[in-house]
């Protein structure tokens, strides 16, 4: 099953109501997040990771700048890398620009949404909301299903 969550006008409406001028959103309203999934955690001491495909269906490049979720105090886009002698390491990935018509895959062993400082355990069968923030001020929130610890992909 493909889960799609589109940006809605809710944010723009909210900002207008609050008396602020809505930012000129360039692109992030055309972002689609697909196949989000994560693995269950053991307790809250170990960081979690979530995966998904972020697709830019619009005509402008979009830049993913950050994450937010009530599940974790320090969510951050990370990248795992394995060097020529087989040593794996992990570091913050910084901002990620997605060109029009392109998508970026957050998948095991590469980019991932690293969920540090979990506020509660990630329990198999539950979901949690994850908000992706873009440089144009837009936000896309996706519900991420929590699969088993040994899950290999969105299908489990």
């Amino acid at each position: 099953m493909v889960k799609k969550l589109r940006y809605t006008n809710a944010l723009a409406v909210l900002l207008t109501v609050a008396g602020l001028s809505a930012p000129a959103l360039a692109g992030s309203e055309d972002v689609v997040v697909e196949n989000a999934w994560s693995r269950a955690s053991i307790g809250v001491n170990r960081p979690g990771a979530a995966y998904m495909t972020v697709r830019n269906t619009g005509e402008d490049a979009v830049t993913l700048t950050g994450l937010a979720t009530p599940l974790a105090m320090m969510p951050e886009i990370h990248e795992s890398k394995t060097n020529s002698v087989g040593v794996s390491s992990m570091a913050p990935a910084g901002e990620i620009t997605i060109e029009p018509g392109q998508s970026v895959a957050l998948e095991p062993g590469g980019l991932h949404a690293m969920l540090m400082k979990l506020q509660e355990p990630m329990t198999e069968g539950e979901n949690f909301p994850l908000t992706l923030t873009f440089s144009d001020g837009g936000k896309v929130t996706v519900e991420v299903p929590i699969l088993g610890i040994a899950a290999r992909g969105p299908e489990g």
């Binding site: 693995r39 053991i42 001491n45 170990r46 960081p47 979690g48 990771a49 320090m74 990370h78 795992s80 394995t82 020529s84 002698v85 087989g86 040593v87 794996s88 390491s89 992990m90 095991p108 062993g109 991932h112 690293m114 969920l115 540090m116 400082k117 088993g148 610890i149 040994a150 899950a151 290999r152």
Partner: protein
């Protein structure tokens, strides 16, 4: 040391050829040599370390000889690479079914500070039942990593925590404890399972 002397002698005595040898020594065994990464692991029979498995048994490389063996390093606080490796291996073992039942499968932690015997027991319990989790004192972990010519490094993260960089390859040994091959991280599944089959049959071929 012997090779060093020999090569230095050659460098002194044989002009250009000697210089080439000297440069080779410098890069391979001498001060220019990289850390012992990327080299071939020792045979299991030449390794020496003592650890504890997740069921509190005293274990070491000697326990692995007699059956084909798969070994990999990781840590249970690893959110991405390690659970992926463990679930990949679980998948390979499922695919091999009965063929793999005669195999040792060992996950050695590089983070003994957090990975106690209890932590290892809980963690490996979520994966294929053949997977054993080994931990122990830091000095023994370090000896094990060195014997495999692997490496690990503690890296502080924001917020006062730390993560571990570590060799993510899977090592395959035959029943005599000789290295058969390695499965690199990111290697496609189509390559991994045939490599494991090689480790399972290697000793039979060697005996003929």
């Amino acid at each position: 040391m012997q090779r060093r002397q020999l090569l230095l002698y050659g460098a002194a005595g044989a002009g250009v050829l000697g210089l080439t040898l000297f440069v080779g020594w410098w890069r391979v065994d001498g001060p220019g040599a990289p850390e012992p990464k990327g080299q071939r692991p020792l045979p299991l029979s030449a390794m020496e370390f003592r650890l504890t498995d997740h069921e509190e048994n005293e274990v070491g490389p000697g326990n692995l000889i007699g059956r084909p063996t798969m070994v990999f390093f990781g840590f249970t606080y690893c959110p991405d690479v390690c659970p992926t490796t463990l679930s990949d291996i679980s998948g390979w073992l499922e695919e091999l079914g009965d063929e793999a039942s005669e195999m040792n499968v060992v996950f050695i932690t590089v983070d003994p500070e957090r990975d106690t015997v209890e932590a290892m027991a809980e963690y490996v319990g979520y994966f294929h039942p053949a997977i054993r989790g080994w931990t122990g004192p830091e000095d023994q972990i370090s000896r094990a990593v060195e014997a495999f010519r692997a490496s690990y490094e503690r890296v502080p993260t924001e917020g006062g925590d730390y993560t571990m960089n570590h060799t993510a390859s899977v090592f395959l040994f035959d029943a005599k404890g000789e290295l058969v091959t390695m499965i690199d991280y990111h290697e496609p599944r189509e390559f991994a399972v045939p490599k494991i089959r090689r480790a399972l049959t290697e000793d039979v071929e060697g005996a003929t």
